[in-house]
Symmetry: C2
């Protein structure tokens, strides 16, 4: 009867509840949807059943919220929940797991050579422009949320500013590799 290991999204939500403090499922969804660096859609179809599940397993606790809505509940992380979060974060990742599992930009860049030569530069330019747009959103989010989160490192990972910078460097290297061929 070994309880199955929680999924990535389940642990991620657990982490968010830990980080944000007590909040409703709806507030958590809004937070995820508003963040510039989200890996999941935070759709109702995933979040509501997921949080109910986590409560049944004793990783979240909830109490009914006054005032608003249907069975509106406020969730907080339990002691067992924090332990589960640590069990998820802590163990070192295997080499296969430190490399990104799913990445549309890289997948496509890999076959850039299938495009007519004249289009490749424009493709890279458009990707850089999209990344700059993300950079702007990250800054805006950072300014709006810096106070709500903990330390600087936490804010940096939550906003995704680390990610954007890495990707811009990645793109620059790709461009320079392409340039050196003529």
């Amino acid at each position: 009867m070994a309880a199955r290991a929680p999924s990535e999204l389940e642990c991620f939500v657990l982490g968010l509840v830990w980080q944000l403090g007590p909040c409703s499922a709806y507030a958590l969804r809004r937070h995820m949807q508003g963040s510039p660096s989200t890996q999941w859609s935070a759709s109702g179809g995933s979040i509501y059943p997921l949080m109910a599940r986590l409560e049944r397993r004793g990783l979240l606790e909830s109490r009914a919220m006054a005032g608003n809505g249907r069975g509106r509940r406020e969730y907080r992380i339990s002691g067992r929940g924090l332990a589960a979060l640590r069990e998820w974060v802590g163990p070192p990742l295997r080499p296969e797991a430190v490399t990104t599992a799913y990445d549309p930009l890289r997948s496509r860049a890999r076959f850039l050579g299938a495009l007519p030569a004249g289009q490749r530069g424009a493709w890279i330019g458009a990707a850089r422009e999209a990344l700059h747009e993300v950079e702007r959103r990250v800054r805006a989010w950072h300014d709006a949320n810096a106070s709500a989160l903990g330390d600087a490192a936490e804010t940096m990972t939550a906003s995704g500013e680390l990610d954007v910078r890495s990707r811009l460097e990645w793109l620059a290297r790709l461009e320079s590799a392409r340039r050196h061929e003529g």
Copy 2:
């Protein structure tokens, strides 16, 4: 009766067939499994039905291979397949799509603060070690496959050497952000 847009994995396989030239489904799987920068497991359960599907849709063509195995077939990309590949690669990605969609390392790093303070440095060290291991595999793969692929940029994106470098920089910045807190 608009044919649905091919999935990411379907397009990725299309790209690989284009890049590798005519090959069997098995050879393609081996290539994917041997590559250090794979985003999919390349399991039989995904690849075989997928390539049969792509052929039914006219994006791949195949002919029976002599000699070996059951219905062993050699696939090549068709004209329509190349067009579909270009339609997938070409269009600029929206900002939401240039950011990685799924990333275990970043997900966990985001909640590093949930670990006891004394464990955080070790966690980052272990992640760096795992990335160095990937770096070694990338180099070995690069040396073994450089000749089989086209230009330098193609080899770099296929091996994932761009990715490892970016991630090591990402990790270094994370570490430095954590250090500046005490």
